[in-house]
Amino acid sequence: MFGFPGVRTLLVAAVILLLFLLTPSYVHGTGSQNKRVLVLHSYHSGYSWTDDIQRAVIEVLGRADDIELHVEYLDFARNPHQGYDELLLELLKNKYVPGQVSPDVVLISDDRALEFSLEYRSQLFPNVPIVFCGINDFTRDRIEGHTQITGVNESKSITETLDLALRMNPATERIAVVGGARTTERYNYQSFLAVESQYSAEYEILHLNELEEETLVEELGRLGEETVVLYFSYMNSPSGTAYHYRDALRLVTENTDSMVFVTSDFQVCDGAVGGKVVHGYAQGEKAARVTLDILEGADPDTIPIVMESPNKYRFDERMLERFNIPDDVVPDRAEIVNKCPERLLRQAAAGTEGTFFSGDLFDQHGAVMLLIDAQSGYIVAANEAAYEYYGYSYLRAKNIATINVLSQEQVEHEMQAAVREQRNYFSFRHELADGMVRDVSVYSYPVTIDDTELLFSVVFDVTDQRAAEEANRRQAVVIITTLTVFLFTALTAAVALFALMRKKNKAEEALQSQLRISNSLLNELHHRTKNSIQVIDGFIELQAAENRDPQVQREYAALRRRIATIAMAHQRLDPSKTLSYVNLRDYLHAVVSGILASNDHAQHKTDVCLEIVEIDVLIDIAVPCGLIVNELLSDSLQRAVRDPSYARFSLALRLSDSTTIELVYEDDRLDGERTAGREAHDGLGVNLARELSQHQLGGRFRPERSESGGTRYVVTFSTTLYKDRIAHDSTDS
C-alpha cells in the first residue's frame, strides 16, 4: 500500500537528515583543511631503524601546520604468527573508516607493511596514494596492478661492504654470511647469493643462515681472525624464536673473533665494525619529501621510484681501533660512532704535525692549554703547563668530562649562559689529580684539523679570584646586612621616637586639654565668686534701704566698701598668671577711686597723692593691702567729714628691697583724741588695718605723727609670705 507519508514518518526522516547534517565529518576537504598522512611502519617503536625513519618523517612532515600525521607500528617482527594480519585488518578498518577518517597519503616503511597494505588496500584506503621506503631491492612486480604508488628502494650494499671488509682485513680467507629465518633475512641472503660468485673463487664462503642459536654460536666459535662475517640479521630463528636486534647482533659479535660487517646503520654497534649501510633516516627523509610533493598536488604515477638506495658508510671507531684498521682504509666522510681516544690521538697527531699544537710554543707555553675533540670530549693534546696543573700522569685520551665535575646538564646550562651573556669563556670546575676541585675559566676556540672539529681550550685557574669575589660578596652581604640591621634599628628607633613623641604630644595635648578645663573651671569659679559678691552687695543695699538711720547707713556703706574692695581685687586677677596675681598699683588706684567716689568727699576739697610702685602681687597680699588702704582712707575721710576743711592724703607704696614692701599712708588731719601708738583710742578701721598688717601680712604696722602734724601709718611686709596656690600642687600649699 502506497500513500502519502504520514506526519510522523516525515518527522523521523527530518530528524535523520538533521542528524546526518550535524554529524562531524572527518573526511578531508569537507570538515578540515588539514591533510592527513597515515604512516604504517612494519616494525615497532624502539627499533632503531624504524625510529630513524620516523624521526625523518617528523622532521619533514611534522613541521607543516596543515599536515596531520597518524602513525601505526604494525609490529610484524614481534608477531610472526598466523592470523595477525586479519587482526590488524579489523583494527585498521575500524580506525580508518573510508569516507570518514581517510588519509590523503599512506607512507609505508619496509616490506611487510607494503605487502599488507597492497593486499588490503581496497578495504582500508582505496585509491589513496602510497609512498614506500625501506623496500628491499624493489622491483616493479612488487606493485603490479596498483597505481598511485611510488617510493624509495632499499638495497643492501653487499659488495661495497664486503670489498671494504676485505681491504680492512687483508688476511681474510673466509667470508661467513649470517642470516635468520625472517622474510627480509631470507631475502637478504638471496641477495648475497646473487653476488657470491664474485668472492667464492678467492674466498671460502660459509653460509651460516637459518641456523638455530646453538648451532650458530658453535659455528661462530670456529671462525678465526682470517674470516670476515657479513651479518644481515638474526631476529627470527628457524624455529620461530624472536630476538631483539641488539641481542641478535651481540650473539654474533660476542661469539667470534672475526670482524663483523653489517649492512644497516642501526647495526653499527655492539661489536660490529660497520659497513656501507642502509640508512633509516635517509630512507624516511626521501619518502617524506615525496609525500610532501603529492600533498602539494604532484601525481604519484609521474614521480619516479628512487632506485638508488641512499646508503652511507658508518663505522665504530672502537672496532676500527680493536682490529688495528688503518685510517686510510676508512672512506672519507664516513660516519664514525663510538669514537675512541687512541684513534683520535693518532689522527690529531698526524693532523697537527707541523702546526702550533705540535710545536714548542704550545708545549712550553705558561698557560694551561688543551686540544679537545668537540664531538667526544677527548683531550687529544695537552701542554706541559696542563700536566703540571692537573697532575695527571696522562691527559691525552682523557675525556674532559672526567675532569669537569659539573654534570652534563650543568655543562649545557653553562654553555647556554655563556652564549646568552656573550662571553668567550666557560666557568667550570675541574678536578685535579690530588682530588682538589678548582674553579676554572675555559677559553675555547674551534679548530678544524682534517675534517675533525677540535676545541683549542686555554684554562685559567680562577679559584682564588672566585674566593676573593666570594669573600667580597660575603663582605658585601655582611655590610648590607649590617646596614640593613642598622637602618632597621634606626627606623625602629625613629618609629619608637615618633610614637613616643606622638604619645608625648598626646600627653601634652591631654595636659593642655586638662589645663584648658582647669582654666575654664577657675574662670567659672571666679565668675561665680564675683556674681556672689554682687548678690551679697545687692542684699546689703536692699537691707540698708530698709533703715534710714544715718549711722546705720554709714555702717552699711562701710561694709559695702569693704566688700567692694575685696571684689575689685577679684576683678583684677590676671588670667595670664594663673588667676592668682593682681597688679597692686592698678588695684589700689581703683580702691582709692572707689572710696572717694562713694563718700561725700566731693563736697570737700581733697588732695590725694598716690605714689605706688608697679608690682604684681598674689591676691593674698593684694586684698589685705586694699583693705588696709580702705580702712585708713575711710578713717581719714570720716574725720575729714567732721572737719570739713581742706584735706590732703597721700599713699606711697614702694619696695624697700626685692621682697619687702613699705606702704606709707599719711593725712594732714589732726586727731586730738588720738596719739599714734595708742591703740585703745583707735576705731575699727585702724584696728582692722593693724590686724591685717600684723596678722595677715606678717608685717609691721607703725602709726606716726607726720612732719605736718598729721597721722602717718607705715606698714612693712614681705611679699613672700604666701605662695601661688594654683601654681603649686596641694603638697606644697
Binding site: N519, N523, H526, H527, R528, T529, K530, N531, I533, Q534, V535, I536, D537, G538, F539, E541, L542, A545, R560, I563, A564, A567, Q571, L573, P575, G594, A597, S598
Partner: protein
Amino acid sequence: MTALIVEDEAVSVMLFRRFLDRLGHTVVAATAKGEEVQALAEAHNPELILMDISLAGEMNGIEAATKLREISDAPVLYLTGYSADEIRTRALQVSNSFFLVKPVVETQLSAAIEALPPSMREA
C-alpha cells in the same frame, strides 16, 4: 534713659534697678532669658541694655546681644563675672557694646553710662 536689664540673678536685677533709678534712668523691662531680649526690645525700645552673659535658657548674653542687633542699635553694657580675655573679646564683637566685671558698684555703673558716646546717651 530707658533700660532693659537682662540678668538671671534676681537680687542683682533689684540692685541694678536701684542703681539706675538713683542715676535717673528708667528700667522698662527685665528678663533672665536671652531668648526674650529681642521681643522685649521690640516692645519697649530701650535705650540701654544691661546684659549679663551667663543667663537662664539656651541663649547666652553674647548671643542675645548679637540677635538684638537685628532690630536695635541700643548700647549693650555687659555686667558679668567673666573677665577672661577670650570672652571679653567675643562679647565686644557686638557693635556698641561695653564691658564691666562684677561686682559692679553704683559709681562704676554711673561712670560707664557717662562714658557712653553722647549720641547714645541722648537717644
